[in-house]
Symmetry: C2
Subunit: 298 residues, 2 copies
């Protein structure tokens, strides 16, 4: 079983989750929805331009029979999705084939972000060492300050708790592992780590370099005493450029399996990139829906 499969195993909801898919216009989106509907995990609600949805469905005979009864025609699907979510609090939201910007702005406009929190993005990868590794935030914030990254870090911790982690190790990354005025991200990492000091079974350390965060050998070589070094579960990146290039490097140069989560919202949000294939989309849906305490299976 893959590391990403282990994350959702035994944590899927018992009842079908109504999943409101905004703009499901591509074969890859529709087949992922159809697969998971057939498995009994979701009840898809296809929201958007009915003509475009029908056109895409018509090319997929199996999906058509399963999904064609669940189309809601909408000219402003993000606005209408917000209304649906407010009426059906047990439902979940999914980005179909629309721009991320439109989708994310719609979530904020609809007040689907938890009070006092920020909405943030976590990518999760299966590394060569076969552990799941979360990276946050690689796509929403351009240059988040320390206060924002504290909230981004809290979202990551919430997400891992929801997924059943007993202990959580968070590395706040910089290019170096000693705070230095000449490298601003290192000073900021120290401040973020200090905010999370003295928690039970949650270890947040920084600044850590990426090698020290994830490589047990680097941790030994550098004689690190950090609880996080060599076995980080979460990497908190300093800004968009660093997170974007790290995640795209793993995706497009190393072809590393991944999924993408949104945290900090009142309902589960499924957030696949345009480049995601069918399996990645299904993993993302499963992970987004996993571990809601009130509806746990078995």
């Amino acid at each position: 079983m893959s590391p990403l499969d282990q994350l959702w195993q035994n944590k899927l909801p018992q009842a079908r989750v109504p999943l409101i898919a905004v703009g499901p216009y591509s074969a890859v989106t529709l087949t992922a929805l159809s697969d998971l509907a057939a498995e009994g995990l979701i009840r898809p609600v296809l929201l958007g331009d009915r003509v475009k949805i029908r056109h895409a469905l018509s090319a997929l005979s199996h999906a058509e029979s399963l999904l064609s009864g669940q189309i809601i025609d909408s000219e402003r699907p993000m606005e209408d999705a917000a209304v649906l979510i407010s009426h059906y609090p047990d439902s979940a939201l999914m980005k179909g084939d629309i721009h991320s910007d439109v989708f994310l702005r719609g979530i904020v406009a609809a007040k689907l972000v938890k009070p006092g929190r920020l909405m943030s993005h976590l990518a999760v990868f299966e590394t060569n060492e076969k552990r799941p590794l979360f990276i946050t935030d690689p796509s929403i914030f351009i240059n988040p300050d320390v206060a924002q990254r504290i909230k981004i870090t809290a979202n990551a911790i919430d997400t891992l708790q929801r997924l059943g982690y007993d202990e959580i190790r968070v590395a706040v990354l910089s290019s170096v592992e000693t705070a230095s005025e000449s490298i601003p991200s290192s000073m900021e990492a120290r401040a973020i780590a200090a905010h999370f000091a003295n928690l039970e079974r949650i270890f947040v350390d920084g600044p850590l370099s990426l090698d020290l965060a994830v490589s047990a050998e680097a941790a030994r070589t550098k004689a690190s005493r950090s609880e996080v070094a060599g076995r980080a579960d979460v990497l908190v990146v300093p800004n968009l450029d660093a997170g974007n290039m790290l995640c795209k490097g793993l995706n497009f140069l190393a072809a590393m399996p991944s999924a993408n989560l949104i945290a900090g919202t009142v309902c589960p949000v499924v957030f696949s990139s345009r480049a995601a294939g069918r399996e990645e989309r299904k993993q993302t849906i499963r992970l987004a829906l996993s571990g809601r305490r009130d509806t746990l299976r078995a």
Copy 2:
């Protein structure tokens, strides 16, 4: 043959290159030197604390016989290396087991940087697609401005020309592929690319996102007309944090084979990280010594 092997194949110098190794105190450094001395590529000069060098050599019987005659005792090896290089302009310089900062500052102090240029670092990776991919600069500059990154880009172009590239494709990276005031790296990338417009067989384009730079599929999906999209040879990163995390992600999470070059200096400089193994060090030496036009083999 691996993509990195292809880079140096038929481009190694005909005569042995005197290679001045500064602080060669580890088994991995000494065995790499011994291997390449046995192959006839280099004549190693071991410069540093004689006691430490002898101690390390004594554990390596084969290397000892090959290398023990070539030790120069030095208390200030970077200063002494600079004197040697000025006397023997055909020699090359190598970082042994000393801190990168000390080594790089020594190069600048010794005026080994070419007039009007900057010294920069290029990492080169074998990606899953089996092409060599250069990334610059992942370790020397913290937050280089446009003028500095133009020089860093020029160094990369020089290096690829020396390695025999007929055409060179350079992607100046940002998180997005459209220049936008809200993402400074995208505006800077456009300025850097504009500086290199209208060259023959050298294509520099930016801003490009990493997926668009390296993925032929992303280039098709996004209908890009860029000469660089989907087949970049070189990625120019915006700053230290982004370059460091991208390269360390490929090294430590994806275990991707790599080597490391220094460009912009008057002599070849071999620059392996402390974490580099024997093969990576040998590749780095071969690449640093490849393609010096006056001494080409065959």
